[in-house]
Symmetry: C2
Subunit: 336 residues, 2 copies
């Protein structure tokens, strides 16, 4: 029934050591022996017990990933799934597995992480968020445990990370608007404490300057990630400032609220005011007008996160401790 290395060894008239070496295609085994053993392996349908291997090798060949509590959010969702896809696809090729757990809340994440680590079930951790004062990161750093984060950490040198090219993404959006004639471009971003917002804001400002446009503080707003907030902020803005001809947002949901406010104020999209989103969610293509948005390559992010962590685990001489993934601007009808 259950066939082990011993069985194979017996049938092939060699020792288990030899079978083990055949399995890893060791150069110290003759081709004849390899052939003989491999035949028996196929014949018996033998597959190594990876648990036993892990124990002997002191390596689980597995990475751990904790679903952040925020994953319940519908908009984090697609990103998350795509990211997982990227991770698992990369890992499979490199004969690694992914252990998944979920956190009930922010504090629980640390439990999950330490549980995975302490039980020796994983060789490294993939973190999906970077917080301002991040307990998870501190813990992993203190314990000198291999991990990679998604997002740009404050201390970029001290850890592995992957991120979107947020600056470039916003340069692209802004430049596009400018080149099609927009001059008074508002920016509705998230909290400016967040690295992601900072980067995007830089891209926006840089591009304005590049084209000799004024950076007007009145056009830059901090907004929560919701439709309602997008509406409210845009509504306020349009009442105060009269000559706006484009609104950049950092989320499709904000953009959606923003579009509603634009219409309610009697403007046409995109004739009077263009609006852009971010994340290229399902909403973007089905809104009317359809929403120009920035697509994040979540699969690639997942793939690169896995790659950089695996490289680190298996070499420890990391040439690159980070990787930046390009975004893609999806032009639709909400911009002229």
């Amino acid at each position: 029934m259950k066939v082990t290395i011993k069985e194979v060894a017996q049938q092939a008239n060699v020792s288990p050591s030899t079978v083990s070496r055949v399995l890893k295609d060791s150069h110290m085994i003759s081709q004849a022996t390899k052939d003989k053993v491999n035949e028996i392996i196929n014949q018996l349908g033998y597959h190594p017990n990876e648990i036993a291997r892990s124990l002997a090798n002191q390596s689980s060949q597995t990475l751990g990933l904790v679903m952040p509590a925020s994953v319940e959010d519908n908009f984090v969702n697609p990103f998350f799934t795509q990211f997982l896809l990227g991770v698992t696809q990369y890992l499979e090729v490199h004969d690694y597995s992914l252990l998944l757990s979920s956190a009930k809340n922010e504090e629980d994440e640390l439990n999950q992480i330490s549980r995975a680590i302490n039980s020796k079930r994983v060789d490294g951790i993939i973190l999906l968020t970077v917080r301002e004062k991040d307990n998870n990161i501190n813990y992993l750093l203190e314990n000198n445990y291999p991990f990679v984060v998604v997002g740009t950490p404050a201390e970029k040198e001290k850890m592995l990370w992957v991120d979107n090219d947020n600056k470039k993404a916003m340069r692209e959006v802004t430049e596009n608007l400018i080149l099609s004639g927009h001059k008074r471009i508002a920016f509705l971003g998230g909290s400016q404490k967040l690295q992601v917002t900072k980067s995007r804001l830089i891209g926006y400002k840089e591009t304005l300057k590049k084209y000799g446009l004024e950076v007007d503080r009145n056009l830059i707003l901090e907004v929560q990630f919701s439709e309602e907030e997008g509406y409210r902020a845009t509504n306020d803005l349009l009442k105060k400032v009269k000559d706006i001809d484009a609104i950049i947002t950092t989320d499709d949901l904000i953009a959606y609220g923003s579009m509603r406010a634009v219409k309610d104020n009697g403007y046409l999209i995109p004739q009077d005011i263009s609006v852009t989103g971010f994340n290229n969610t399902i909403l973007a293509q089905y809104l009317s007008p359809s929403l120009t948005s920035v697509e994040i390559n979540a699969i690639e992010l997942g793939c690169q996160a896995a790659k950089i962590l695996l490289n680190h685990i298996n070499d420890n001489k990391l040439k690159n401790n980070f990787h930046i993934v390009d975004t893609k601007l999806m032009m639709r009808d909400s911009t002229k």
Copy 2:
């Protein structure tokens, strides 16, 4: 650095066997010894190596789940994430883990499954789809390997499964429409070869009959799951049949296309024609009018799938081999 059961044993002046027994809170150990050992365990920060445990116990305490190729579909996405959440939450409580992999295509799913099984990394498999002639199911059945499927299989008795109460969901939708005065209710469902469509259709027909309404074959259509198909089918329907006052669809995306067609044909929603969706995706709440839809409890499905499989693995005397999860009708503005 790395503390093992041996270390703990030495420090506590007992044998490793005793520490092992303390760990599982065996009744054959004196309280005094337990206290002593537990103190050392805490002091040393000892955590059992789960890999070693797995090997000794011949059980990985892990379930496997393969992301189906279709998960890239934006609309499968949220379901998938929520489902994962349910699974991981249940497993955590029961000290199980989840091993995740992804399939490049339909055939690859079987590879992933057999890889997980053969390597002894998982004690059971969660399947997210049921196909008409399902290789994965056949393989698992043949090898007598524990697994659970999401969806209602053809041979309900031969395996573990969880599903939504599709019949009841459609009864609810249909009844609601009838009670608010609708008499000519169309049904746009997926392929009628699929069990899920069959169940929903039964719920629809039963309810019509219950209220003495005619089941008109002209009002029942098979549609692909896309906005375009929803539009096309509805458009055709409205040209042919003039007195329709409600359209039930089995997906929000179909519903969206349907709504567009209704409007294009000069009808008002919901005054002239009500429209309902299914899956309660993010679209439903942001369409205008907002879409009445059926919410699937994906978290609960995940939880129950994990539960039923774990019960089976640990008892083998399964009382219930399936579990049906209720859906929830979300009333919005697309129905009167």
